[in-house]
């Protein structure tokens, strides 16, 4: 009898316990966080970046319009605070010279100042419209602003084949207020931790947008950047392609290049 019980236990109960035991070793939340932490670690120390950015907006009828801007980023080493950025618009021409200075933060709203060149006025603006479209595009302000590790709660969902590689698939829930998303599902490739794709789910948890990253290039032998980001709004059919050009790292930008005085000098 004892033997029979042992066999029965071995046959039926142990297999039930295996996933539980494996799960303890590989808790999806801990695993998701570890993956995100590794993604963040690989991007540390970039110092500063500058680039020109082109956006091609496409409506449902296939008509396109363009936005051109220059963008500067300054890494803020403190893990508990966000990076600084400056965007200067070049096209359409009516907003040429308009510039946006942002001090991004993790959970509290970003500090943002807008420079209006016609009035020579620096205006502090409210940054709580995180879900609003950036320049009429399919990118929201929260998609454009710096992606900080601690802005999200992560959960590993599965590993899955993607493109030519295998990806970690993570669920990322925004921890900051005023997000337009309940969650994002993100694909990171296993070798380089490059983001391949993000699905955005709206407040009703319906698929809203899909972002595909491509044309990755490695900079300074370390930092991978997608030079092409293609956002498709799955609910409206509108699309925006964002193209980075002239990407430069470590040009020696400092805090002084990200102040209201430098904002007034931008053009």
């Amino acid at each position: 009898m004892n033997k029979l019980i042992m066999i029965l236990v071995a046959a039926f109960v142990l297999p039930l316990l295996v996933p539980v035991l494996a799960g303890a070793a590989e808790d999806p939340v801990a695993k998701g966080e570890a993956i995100a932490r590794e993604w963040d670690r690989r991007d540390r120390g970039y110092g500063d970046t500058s680039a020109t950015m082109k956006m091609i907006l496409e409506n449902r009828q296939g008509q396109t319009s363009e936005r051109k801007m220059r963008i500067l980023f300054l890494e803020v080493p403190d893990e508990n605070d966000g990076d600084k950025s400056m965007v200067v618009f070049d096209y359409p021409r009516d907003i040429k010279g308009t510039a946006l200075l942002s001090y991004s933060h993790i959970l509290k709203p970003d500090d943002q100042w807008l420079y209006l060149p016609a009035l020579k006025r620096v205006k502090r603006i409210s940054s709580n419209n995180k879900s609003g479209p950036f320049m009429g595009s399919e990118f929201a302000y929260e998609d454009i602003s710096s992606q900080e590790l601690k802005k999200f709660q992560y959960k590993w969902l599965r590993d899955e084949a993607c493109d030519k590689s295998v990806c970690f698939v993570l669920e990322q829930r925004p921890l900051y207020e005023n997000s337009g998303y309940t969650r994002q599902v993100a694909w990171y490739d296993k070798e380089t931790y490059r983001l391949q794709r993000v699905d955005y789910y709206d407040r009703r948890n319906a698929l809203l947008k899909t972002l595909i990253f491509s044309k990755y290039q490695q900079h300074l032998g370390k930092y991978w950047r997608a030079h092409d980001m293609y956002m498709v709004n799955q609910q409206t059919g509108k699309k925006t392609r964002l193209i980075y050009e002239k990407l430069k790292f470590k040009s020696g930008l400092t805090e002084k290049d990200f102040t209201q005085s430098s904002l007034k000098r931008m053009r």
Binding site: S65, D94, S261
Partner: protein, 397 residues
């Protein structure tokens, strides 16, 4: 070493539904303006910007005018920046009035909101060495004074008695336009609080007026520019969706005494998915001015001096404004506001500004001003027939 060329040109039409009060005024007018911009930057970081401006107006010979908006050499250094030439400087945070802003003269014929300015000759040194901690200190030497523009005899929105701009203005100081004015401003940001403290000594940008009879015995008034001191404070605090704003000034040196004025208010921005990506901003501001506004123009004329309060009616008023930014492809925007003289005589000014981009280079702008009950306020009375709507088409190159 590149030279950049940019700028804009516009066509504008104005329509006044009411018959004019004065001879030579029209019910409609057409206007064209151009403002090119030439920019040259050296590899050292220094730059020169040249921005001339010209407007032709079919109805108002004073609105037909030329100005050098900017002819500025900029030397940026790590610890300071030096600007020499003609330029524009904006100080302040509020929307309904711009009290603290005093470097540039208002180009009043361009727009009623006082936001269009004449180019000001200046030397400006900004000390930036400790800007992250101690803030920024700016010094200004302003060697030449620009006189305010006013509508001509054919122009609508003109004052009564007529401000005689065909003849020379009067000055308190014998150096007249060559009086050297000085200003300084300290500014700093403490987390969510932006602070500015400024002082100005020199020729008042806002004139007082002296009555004068012309050769035909008609009464006109001419601008009288006095030497004043102005101390200004501007504060802005950013909450999550809130912006709290305050501007306050104290001015002394006028013949009729010193005064203080303030504009305080807030801006709240509604946004989020419920608004489909739009921003809806609600602006409320209250304006106070300690000058005596209970004035009788006739008495002032007899006294031989009309105080600078003739330039404004914002003495005990509030403004409610609504800003709608659609965040769409055309950057469509509507800003509408009403200024109401609540505690006094219930005259109001309603204002609408709407704009929308067309393609990559064009923009259409619609503006309207409606003066309601203007006859109840002697400082608005002469505008009682001047409500208007204006459409402009702007090409950016």
């Amino acid at each position: 070493m590149a030279v950049e060329f940019a700028g804009w040109a516009e066509l504008e039409g104005k329509y006044f539904p009411n018959e004019p009060l004065y001879e030579r005024q029209q019910q409609h007018s057409a206007s064209a303006a151009i403002q090119p911009e030439i920019y040259h930057a050296w590899t050292s970081g220094s730059s020169f910007t040249f921005v001339p401006f010209y407007r032709y107006d079919s109805a108002d010979d004073q609105r037909t005018h030329f100005d050098i908006r900017e002819a500025m050499f900029l030397l940026p250094r790590e610890n300071y920046e030096l600007r020499v030439g003609v330029g524009k400087v904006f100080w302040g945070v509020t929307e309904a009035s711009h009290l603290v802003d005093i470097i540039n003269q208002t180009d009043l014929v361009e727009s009623l909101d006082g936001e269009e300015k004449l180019g000001q000759p200046m030397v400006n040194l900004g000390l930036l060495a400790y800007q992250e901690t101690l803030g920024v200190m700016d010094f200004f030497v302003l060697p030449y004074f620009r006189e305010r523009t006013f509508p001509g005899r054919g122009g609508r929105l003109r004052f009564d008695p007529y401000i005689d701009v065909e003849n020379e203005a009067e000055y308190e100081h014998s150096a007249r336009q060559r009086h050297i004015d000085y200003a300084l401003r300290y500014s700093n940001t403490f987390d969510r609080l932006d602070v500015g403290i400024s002082h100005f000594y020199g020729t008042s940008r806002e004139p007082a007026y002296l009555p004068k009879f012309d050769a035909n015995g008609n009464l006109n008034i001419i601008p009288f520019y006095e030497i004043i001191n102005q101390t200004g404070l501007d504060l802005q605090y950013a909450g999550d969706a809130w912006l709290w704003k305050l501007e306050a000034i104290y001015r002394s040196g006028y013949e009729n005494g010193s005064y203080y004025a303030a504009d305080a208010g807030l801006e709240y921005t509604f946004s989020g998915t419920g608004l489909g990506g739009m921003d809806l901003g609600l602006i409320v501001e209250y304006m106070y001015d300690s000058r005596d506004f209970d004035v009788d123009i006739a008495t002032l004329i007899t006294s031989g001096y009309i105080g600078s309060q003739f330039n404004t009616f914002l003495n005990n008023d509030y403004m409610i404004g609504l800003r709608l930014a659609f965040n769409d492809e055309a950057s469509s925007e509507i800003l509408t506001g009403i200024i109401r003289e609540d505690l006094d005589n219930h005259a109001s000014v309603f204002q609408l500004e709407a704009s929308r981009r067309i393609g990559g280079n064009w923009k259409a702008e619609l503006d309207a001003y409606i003066f309601i009950g203007a006859n109840k306020d002697p400082l608005l009375d002469f505008l009682r027939k001047d409500s208007f709507v204006q459409l402009a088409l702007k090409y950016y190159f």
